[in-house]
């Protein structure tokens, strides 16, 4: 499959939802509107693209910018050996996006991790709750305004630091 076929087809079909297409260092990247996520993903899952595997789902915090959180999705097609990166931006006041759990089962835990670390809510997630941190932990650690060394111990520590 040629490099640009995926992005060209996407641009042709969803022209108003796609904001930008780029190839940084050879990785195909597509920047889309927030509402079009599920639609585009279900289109990509089918033939001939066959992006059947969700490799990764993560979030980046660009503190100081207006649209602070950027969601990054990596899709992979085993048949065509092709990778695709999908990005979309979220505003801090409106931190909601559609969940991909009906389509890929590993999105369940990946989204829980992003909720735990950044505080992004996923609409339609069956069981959205913290994955790595414990109940009673306040704050979202991977945000840029959470200090690195701020510890919240569950049982009292003998030494104060």
């Amino acid at each position: 499959m040629e490099k640009k076929k995926v992005t060209d087809t996407l641009k042709a079909k969803f022209s108003e939802k796609i904001k930008e297409v780029s190839f940084p260092l050879g990785d195909e990247t597509v920047f889309i509107e927030r509402d079009a996520l599920r639609e585009i993903c279900s289109f990509l899952m089918k033939e001939p693209f066959a992006f059947t595997m969700l490799l990764d789902l993560t979030c980046v915090d660009y503190a100081g910018e207006n649209e602070r959180f950027e969601m990054v999705y990596h899709l992979y097609s085993i048949v065509n050996k092709a990778r695709l990166r999908i990005k979309t931006r979220l505003n801090e006041k409106d931190l909601e996006i559609e969940s991909l759990t009906p389509m890929w089962k590993n999105a369940n835990w990946l989204e829980r991790e992003v909720f735990d670390m950044f505080g992004v809510h996923f609409e339609g997630h069956p069981y959205l709750r913290r994955l790595f941190m414990y109940e009673g932990f306040e704050g979202h650690p991977l945000r840029k305004d959470y200090p690195l060394r701020k510890r919240q111990p569950i049982i009292p520590m003998k030494r104060k630091e």
Binding site: L25, D27, M53, K81, W104, N106, W109
Partner: protein, 443 residues
Amino acid sequence: MIYRIQKEADKESLLVNMGPSHPAMHGTIRIMLELDGERVLNAELEVGYLHRGFEKTCEHKTYFNLLPYTDRLNYVSPLINNLGYVMTVEKLLGIEAPERAQYIRVLMSELSRISDHLTALAAMTMECGAFTVFLYMIQAREEIWNVIEQTTGARMTTSYIRIGGVRADLHPDMDPLLDKAIESTRKLMKDCHGLLDKNKIWINRTRDVAVVSPEMAINYGFTGPCLRASGVYYDVRKAHPYCVYDRIDFEVPLGDRGDNYDRYMVRMREMEQSLRIIEQAREQIPAVSSQNALISKLVEPAEAIEASRSKKIEAKISLSPNLEGSEKEVYPDILTEKKQAVVPPKEDTYTNIEGLIDHFKFFMKGHGIRPPKGDVYFSVEGGSGEVGFYIVSDGTDNPYRLHLRGPCFHIVAALEEMIKGHYIADIIPTFGSLNMIGGELDR
């Protein structure tokens, strides 16, 4: 705090906790089970007991300083995680390691992969009661770690693979130890095949238990031996070859049913293929290119520093034993020429001013490795699957965001569904065959 399993559970069934500190749990993970007698009706996992804040810590360290953190992610095959991180940064910087360094990287990766599979299978079989296999495999692992230690200096967490190449050349006396390691691994595998393959007890415990169909495996994002045991042919070394894997001839074993027995068999066969790769890499590796054209007399370091104050040194300087393998003559073979990405050789640092400036600028805060702005994703084939790194750089010397795509995360997410309907005793080999590593799961 109510868990999902407490809400969904039947009034008459028993809720049992296989808690974080459990002998058969490799590391710390909590499985909550709803039981009817011994049969599992429902399961819920709780992870995060080894969350060490890797991603947040990396935002506060420089690209060079965060190498030891990557060692401790998948701690049974540390050199492969090193490789994954380093190749991601190299892709961002646009540099490539020299050929000899790439062969050394492949050799070390495959030794790590064998040690990963040995540990996984040793733990899995020990928990099922085959204690002999555990002892044999750990003995073979010791031989392999001896080889790694001779070259890199450490048995486990080595930080050997550096940005731009490797830290030091292979030890000149490596051949006998490597021969011994390969021979003892082959002999061990023959013994273990004999002990386990047709063993009625083993087959009863692992055949047709926790079957994963190919569609389910792909939907969950499985990669690595667990995916190949279900019959899907995907190996990062073959699909997107990196280093010199395209010049080496090896096969990728596949399973057919996707049960525990297939996962065990795929790992055993992969170890044999890794041995083949090591032998081929040994033959194909290019020789050290420098010819030692300088004067043969070795000068002591203190003398050399004294003499360099007045004139440029021409003689070869003897280095301390810690720096064995990274003398100036082997530098072109093991590290790339691009100056900003590597530590300059010690002979230069201490005897001439350009070397000193290069060294200073590499380590000074705010200088050093500063990749251009942008983001990148690169993946290598680890012991459990596709280890991917996603790095966002903002032009400074600390990464803005570093994310690890850990293969174990996706595989363990499927455990809840895999053990439904089986007995408690089936959880043990299932969990062992998945090869969960806490450092990669919880980061």
